[in-house]
């Protein structure tokens, strides 16, 4: 569902992503883990077609991000770090707007809006302006907006950052349900414990390069670490020593 081969992304002369390769299969959850500035968001933006790759190929849902960006967007759900909602619009209006942009409409769209709001516990806030929402409510609404058109691929950029326990749990449950539904999920996170619990495979990215890619257990075993956090720390400390090992 997601295939990244030799992806490079440069901002001018500054190479931010350095020839990374990975894939996400249908029904699989892959975590992209790395410190700030490692290139996680840039990678996700290339996958979401908002940035063009400098080199390499990226296929999402069978479409090339450079040749068929509109088809990629029609098949992908992207949840950026910031929910980016329209504050002066109500929850229903926000969802209706994005539904129309995804080609949905009529009673089918209204049914889908009600269904998503109910699932995320936002039914009571349906006609409330988004500017009045708490951070957790905004993130839930952004999630509803992202999955409105029921895409087979999910790209989530730090979806639980800054959320309280309950809101965070709702997002994690959503990722698990998506996996069960056969969707491919790629998400970036700082929370290693969370990644360990949810991900089938993880990729540790440091300085724009993938240092380790495999199941959490394999990634730990490859460096003799007891936890994913130890393995992560190991790779972050080694960055710049030319180490680049792939496992799994």
């Amino acid at each position: 569902m997601i295939e990244v081969r030799g992806l490079e992304k440069a901002y001018g002369a500054r190479l931010v992503v350095r020839g990374i390769s990975f894939d996400v299969k249908p029904g699989e959850v892959v975590g992209l883990l790395g410190p700030n500035g490692a290139g996680k968001t840039t990678t996700l933006r290339v996958l979401a077609t908002t940035l063009r790759p400098t080199r390499g190929t990226v296929m999402v849902a069978g479409f090339d991000v450079v040749k068929d960006p509109l088809k990629v967007r029609a098949n992908v759900c992207v949840l950026p770090t910031d929910p980016g909602l329209y504050g002066r619009l109500t929850a229903a209006e926000n969802l209706r707007y994005f539904g129309h942009l995804c080609g949905l409409g009529g009673p089918e769209l209204e049914r889908r809006i009600d269904e998503l709001l109910e699932w995320l516990g936002l039914t009571a806030a349906k006609h409330q302006r988004a500017e009045e929402f708490s951070k957790g409510m905004r993130q839930k609404l952004a999630l509803a907006r992202a999955v409105l058109h029921n895409p087979p691929v999910l790209i989530l950029d730090e979806p639980t950052a800054g959320l309280d326990v309950l809101a965070s749990r709702a997002v994690i449950n959503f990722i698990r349900e998506s996996k069960k539904a056969g969707r491919s999920v790629l998400f970036s996170s700082h929370y290693l414990l969370e990644a360990d619990r949810v991900c089938d495979r993880v990729a540790i990215i440091v300085g724009g390069e993938i240092c380790a890619f495999g199941t959490p257990r394999d990634v730990c075993a490859a460096v003799g670490a007891a936890t994913l956090e130890d393995a992560f720390a190991h790779w972050v400390e080694l960055r710049g020593n030319g180490a680049d090992r792939r496992v799994g």
Partner: protein, 408 residues
């Protein structure tokens, strides 16, 4: 089919932007409150206050101190008899500096000095030097000075008539010409000229101001609240998103311009004459063709300004930065508009009509003055359409360029 689907998305963006704009107090203020409420106040209050002040000045009789009135008692008495000026007599040799202080304090409005021997000079038919001291910094004193000069002139004419009569000559000797003047300006030309001076200025300024907040919000505003990234991740071509946003800015700006023209016209042609007690003095005679030319010119210009503002807004990193760029654009259109407001020019060279802003000002002015020509209108429309196309292309380029979108 594909086109209908794209249009549905353009429409969705257009309606969302409009809904967002009408819920934004800043847009409502610029679009509705300023044109409807403040414009009439600006247009009506100034002239009405000026006329009221003139009337009040006319009611009060200014005081003139005549120093050495005893040197020519007939003059002071004659002036007094007209009732236009009150005369305060001061003996010759009075302290003029003290009188000047009273003049500057507004206690008296004029000081007139009549020299010693004035009566003898007059009898000898020699010119009598009369010194007038006024304080032109105040309206009342300058009015008193004008009034005194006019009264002195009339008194002089009376003396000359008397002298001519004594010699058995007619006063017609002094008037070799009998002037008969006729003004061919029609009543509607007064109204047309007044509107021609003000409306084009309002159109060009409000084409920027009216849609300013919608344009800034649609580009830089979306960037700032991070909704732009979510928007470009939707399966909608960039040009379609820009088209929807462009239509929204145009709608708001056009509504503001129309409201402004309406309220300015009502203020100038209806409210102002009524308040000044001159009903029916001003009227405008617009032709259907002229109106159509003005409407087309205005719409294309609003489109051009909307596309430019949108491009600047998308290019900006923040709301604040966009505000600076758009304010710059406003000044760029304001200067030629202000210049032309005070310059009477009809029949400018054809090339002038190819310059955006100038052409809008000229065409609108000529429509109100009933002097618009087809070639000038056509050059204006083609020029504006080309400029609009380029500005729209610029907005799409800015919107689909990752370096601009993620400019930090």
């Amino acid at each position: 089919m594909e086109l209908i689907a794209v249009w549905a998305k353009v429409r969705a963006v257009w309606l969302r932007e409009l809904l967002d704009s009408v819920r934004d107090k800043r847009t409502l203020y610029m679009m509705v409150l300023l044109p409807i409420v403040l414009m009439p106040v600006m247009i009506v209050v100034g002239p009405v206050m000026m006329v009221r002040q003139q009337e009040s000045l006319a009611r009060e009789v200014p005081v003139a101190v005549v120093v050495g009135a005893e040197n020519l008692p007939e003059l002071a008495g004659w002036i007094e008899s007209t009732g236009a000026l009150a005369v305060e007599r001061a003996p010759a040799g009075s302290d003029v500096a003290a009188l000047e202080t009273r003049l500057s304090e507004g206690e008296v409005q004029l000081v007139v000095e009549v020299p010693e021997g004035a009566a003898a000079l007059l009898s000898a038919e020699q010119p009598v030097p009369i010194r007038v001291i006024s304080h032109s910094g105040t309206s009342r004193s300058s009015m008193a000075a004008d009034l005194f000069q006019s009264l002195l002139g009339r008194y002089g004419e009376e003396l000359v008539s008397r002298r001519l009569a004594e010699r058995g000559l007619s006063t017609e000797l002094l008037e070799p010409f009998a002037l008969e003047a006729r003004d061919i300006t029609r009543r509607e030309d007064f109204g047309g000229r007044l509107l021609a001076m003000m409306i084009p200025f309002f159109i060009v300024v409000w084409a920027v101001v009216g849609g300013m907040y919608t344009a800034i919000d649609a580009g830089a505003g979306e960037k700032e609240r991070n909704s732009l990234e979510c928007l470009i991740m939707t399966p909608v071509p960039g040009a379609a998103i820009v088209a929807g946003k462009f239509l929204a800015v145009c709608t708001i700006a056009l509504a503001a311009v129309v409201l402004l023209i309406g309220s300015a016209s009502v203020s100038l042609l209806y409210m102002l004459p009524r308040l000044l007690g001159a009903q029916g003095l001003l009227s405008v005679n617009l032709t259907g063709g002229g109106l159509l030319a003005m409407l087309a010119t205005m719409t294309l210009f609003v489109g051009l300004m909307s596309a430019l503002q949108l491009a600047l807004s998308v290019f900006s990193k923040s709301f604040r930065e966009a505000q600076s760029y758009v304010s710059g654009l406003m000044f760029a259109v304001m200067f030629p508009a202000m210049y032309l407001m005070y310059v009477e020019e009809i029949g400018a060279s054809l090339w002038t009509y190819a310059v955006p802003v100038l052409n809008v000002l000229l065409v609108c002015r000529e429509v109100f003055m009933g002097a618009v020509g087809l070639p000038e209108v056509l050059v204006t429309l083609v020029s504006l359409a080309v400029a609009l196309g380029l500005a729209f292309w610029g907005a799409v380029r800015a919107f689909t360029h990752e370096k601009v979108l993620f400019r930090t």
